[in-house]
Symmetry: D2
């Protein structure tokens, strides 16, 4: 003893899974935390290695590499993809570059994890799903980063729905409420420009609740009727937003995406659903809420209290029935046997650790992880139907299948 | 002392307000409780007298009179209206008879309180509102029984909106969830037949949240896009429902109203709104919930916790801001100076006491109470637009004004 | 039809139960509401009649009679007791007069309902319990007004404990938090003087949680260790408090009761308990909270949300276990079959309606109602042990039995 | 680019802080997570290095080193302390070894972080605090691991108390409820034997709430009155517990620590407090709850919802006042500027990241971190007074100062 040991010595005997991540902003930080932590907590069949991170600004990307623990850095994502020492490309860039990077990575024989939404258009998403299908035959796996499926409480909800605990589904109501645009003086940013962000509340927040609703329900949406609104159409330009739809003289720029999106929908089974995504719900910070009502029970989840799942067992005698707060921290809850004792809750970032865990297992096992690019395409089709309905004065619009 | 006193002796010096109530089921019991209690709690300019109750079954109506404290009983509402000793007709029957009774009562010179929804059709409601307007010129007052405006918490919410505390309105989300039809074996009743009930979840539950949303927002809805569904289309007939859409042989009858109604909407100001009314939300018993988000703050109310109003003051520094639970039981809260000390909550039935209080004051003061028949008509127009949109495949349907 | 009917005609065929109530302040109003309403809601074996109300100020008591619906008024409680047309004496005065009035009423052959706490001293309570025992042999019944036993949620909790649902009891934690004295400028009142109120937080709030804890546990406390404190020892005198412990010159008077009382305790079974009663818990208005933990489950109740009972079933698999919110508004819940549909909650005052109901049934059935004067005496002994422990530097003090 | 980079390259320019950790069970895993993550999230003046981990079982400790990312392993803590390449000794062993290890580490010139409780006796704690004081003069820093001070919500609460937002303190009520011993068949473990664990619920759970109460109040407790109980006195022996107080024949062993501890207390300012620590609160998994009531406001925290702080501002008009839920995830909240956007909550383990952050800053700045060994000693004195009071039949026992 007393001699320096290599970290992850036993892990070193496992096959490596060398990761190249493109993008290093909010999502890059979150994915890094997931990759760094996953093998410290879970027993994995392959050992993830934070091999290379990529960003356009060399100084910034080197700082990010140091900060987040990546061994090397690149400034061109094509160079990253070209490297032999990368097994998996993890795409954390804005949506307008997802398709190009993912298609190139798949062509280069890499596994791909792509942040949500899969793409900015259905066409791009179709190409990606198609490429993923072909790549699968060559042994490459793909996944889209709808991380909220991997909060233990939502995973437990899915498990309970699949077990039949709520019976025939009648209603899903989902909302994702934030408030960071409620101030009219909040500046214009790339997130408010359609050419970069694809959409506003819809792709950013709506995509999450569409995916989560379909995942929990275990079935796709069939059609939607939608309203969208942009409450504040001009916002101040700041240095970071110069050039973004600038007006001639007054220092403001045009907002070209939706501030809020509401839609009602039918599932293929006939269950009804409602969705709301907004950045104008004053006081609601990250309030992703979803409730399912079935013939035999109900389930409710709120991301602001992510360690809790509320469950009503409708088969109990009414005398003692009620919505119960399951504190999803027991060893027999999803992912929890690897973490802390009961009652010691997890946080937002753990969803990325769980995503990493499940992806490593899927790659090692050669089976398609969920959500696949096909799942991501399906969400994209819902978003497209929402946009189409909103443009057609709320006309009910069926989801292309 | 020691001699028997007449009850309400001092009150006897006040002008009486003699009430004739038509109907004695659930709503009749609730209104009776309101009329009996109001002068025990509030100082009123006129003294309500429970003069006469009316129902078709003589034995039953006499029993109801005894039970609920009405001095006399009638079996024909026309006889009730013809009586000289009735000042106010309180209509607690199902919606299909509202128009006929109200029009006759107004023609007979009575004040009228009519349960919600005002009528089963816009046409009826228009006649009623028109008659009410004429009657007002003759000194007769009319009110529609949207009692949930008179929970202290919702009245406080209205007051806070009117004071500008939430600023420019962005979102309203309202739902009214019950679960009494979730069992497919729950029997057919008149509430499930269109010819009697007018509609299902829409008129029963949806009417409440439409009224409350417009009341709290202080502005009308401009247009809607709607979905409705009837999940269970045939239900067992029981003795009480024989004759209701009976199928030939199998002991079941047709459900001809909506089980659930979802719609999204725009207010005239441009704010967005969503509504859901259902009888299939397992575990939700009487969950009327409404939240308003404005530029400066938010308010949220849940009827299952009716003594509470949640308020977010968006002008506070973010360090200390949060949704606060106002326990609406302080002497300076609406209606509360007459009740119990802080923290000693009220219940559902108190909304009827408050409704009675406000109506008596309005009649004594000769000013139109809120909600007026015109308000009831406006709600009816929203309901009609919802039905039209649902029939037109969710097409956005403007509210006739 | 069309002829005036006597109210309560069918009820008139029942034997009457003629009530004489002494006191007409807060508790008088609450009891009046209970007596007025009970026969409108419940089917009763005897018909309560609000026969006579008593108070020292003739003008005020006559106004109270009118307001609250009492047929006659008296200014001397001895005259009330002497009346032949009174079957039940309902004592709503401050605690220093309970014993004298109750003993006289029992001597005069009346049934007696006495507000809590039963008396200001153990000695008085012993005399009252002894007299009640003798009177019971003569067919007279007695009850003490611990109304919180009769919130449907607490009654359900008792029922569930009695059914063995939580198993061997381990812990009870009870607190009753108010905040009306937190302002040092709140004036002196009779409630802050020992000679009138007996004690402060202890008798006013502590008595409620001691009774409720023993009732729910189904067993008595065995011993206590207690701390009390008077945070503000001098308060401004106002007109209403002139003469109350006035200081010589500065316009203030002495507070001679406890502001807050904390104690820990053992039940006879060995379960542990903690209690806190205070008027200094800023923001807590009427927060009576009690939780029981047993080997097989737990129950929790909060008076500020009095329609809810929280239940944890410890025998469920941990995967799906959690505290559930039972909305205590179902027809099979205590008292609820007579009220409104599920989810339509009750309020504070309904506890007095239920108290009246249960007392009428007990009198008609000739069986001792709960809580009896003996129960009230037992609570008094706990309060005395608390005071003794506090005086003896927290020494563990057994409850005299 | 494209060349392998050393991780933490910029960090490498900082002075290192080489950590040697003793113990690798639950707390070892939590501390490891803290040390591994802290420099990825926060900008630190020194770079923590996971240099060496120590445990008695060589195979196990090597596995732990690999799992948790420690460079080397030792099987004798004395060897760890003797190493030149260790700057800080992090003690994560059971309490019976804290004193010996800490004293040796201080003698060897190391900084020391010691898990709570500081020791199993006041005598040990005094020696440790004394040694820490001497070591401080030599530039060595010490800290005790009361990690719950470093949940952002509790840190915010402390900040708000220090700002005077709740004014003169009146009440603190604290409880720490778990339920893992409620099953009588749960086996005996070292945690249930006094010679190893020192105490049961008191040292394990009570120590946390005593520290947190004093920290938040900003003042020490002055005296206590306490009850303790061991509900189940014999428990089954399992392999892991052979030799632990074995009974002769029946396969059970003696429980020699407290199952539950209740105490009431006075702060030096005269404020009152209550405490409860138990492992028998069925359904409560990790329910550390604390509420402070002051003259101007109140604060409440629940570890099961650790991203929330409840605040009542008593200076607001009563019309709009209420307990507000501050979601403690804003950039201006303690520690939060380094983490995720608003509403993206943290978990239990983040308290260890924050503890690591604060300790690194303190060491780099040469100032004593909080809580110091002196703070840990003070907690130990409270625990001793609790034990003494419980032995003396709850007699009020002053805290030695």
């Amino acid at each position: 003893m007393g001699q320096p040991q290599q970290p992850d010595r036993t892990a070193a005997k496992k096959p490596l899974l060398r990761i190249g991540m493109v993008g290093y902003a909010f999502m890059g930080a979150a994915h890094s935390q997931g990759w760094r932590t996953v093998s410290r907590v879970f027993d994995l069949p392959r050992q993830p290695v934070l091999a290379v991170i990529c960003g356009r600004d060399e100084t910034a990307v080197r700082a990010a590499a140091d900060r987040h623990g990546w061994a090397t850095a690149e400034t061109d994502w094509r160079a990253l993809i070209a490297r032999d020492d990368v097994d998996l490309v993890d795409i954390c860039t804005p949506g307008d570059s997802h398709a190009e990077i993912a298609l190139a990575a798949l062509a280069a024989g890499k596994h791909v994890l792509c942040e949500k939404p899969l793409a900015n258009t259905v066409e791009e998403a179709e190409m990606m799903a198609s490429a993923a299908e072909s790549a699968y035959k060559r042994g490459q796996l793909t996944m889209v980063g709808f991380n909220y499926r991997r909060a233990p409480a939502s995973a437990l909800a899915r498990q309970m729905v699949a077990e039949g605990r709520i019976g025939t589904l009648r209603h899903v109501r989902a909302s994702y409420l934030q408030d960071w645009l409620v101030d009219p003086q909040a500046p214009l940013s790339w997130r408010l420009r359609k050419e970069l962000a694809g959409s506003g509340s819809l792709g950013d927040l709506g995509a999450h609740i569409v995916d989560l609703a379909q995942y929990l329900a275990g079935e796709p949406l069939a059609g939607v009727s939608a309203l969208t609104e942009t409450f504040i159409r001009e916002r101040p330009l700041v240095d970071a937003s110069r050039g973004l739809g600038a007006n001639s003289a007054d220092g403001t720029g045009q907002v070209t995406v939706d501030d809020a999106t509401l839609f009602i929908a039918r599932f293929t089974s006939g269950a009804l659903a409602s969705f709301e995504a907004t950045r104008y719900a004053t006081g609601r910070k990250n309030a992703l809420r979803i409730e399912l009502n079935g013939e035999h029970g109900s389930l409710a989840f709120d991301l602001e209290r992510l360690n809790e799942l509320w469950y009503h067992d409708g088969t109990e005698p009414s005398t003692h029935a009620g919505f119960r707060r399951i504190l999803v921290t027991e060893p027999d809850h999803p992912y929890l046997d690897a973490w802390w004792p009961p009652g010691h809750g997890l946080g937002y970032e753990h969803t990325f650790v769980h995503q990493a865990r499940d992806l490593v297992h899927a790659i090692a096992g050669g089976r398609t992880p969920e959500p696949s690019f096909a799942d991501g395409l399906q969400v994209q089709r819902v978003l497209a139907a929402v946009e189409e309905s909103a443009e057609r004065n709320c006309a009910y619009t069926t989801i292309a299948g």
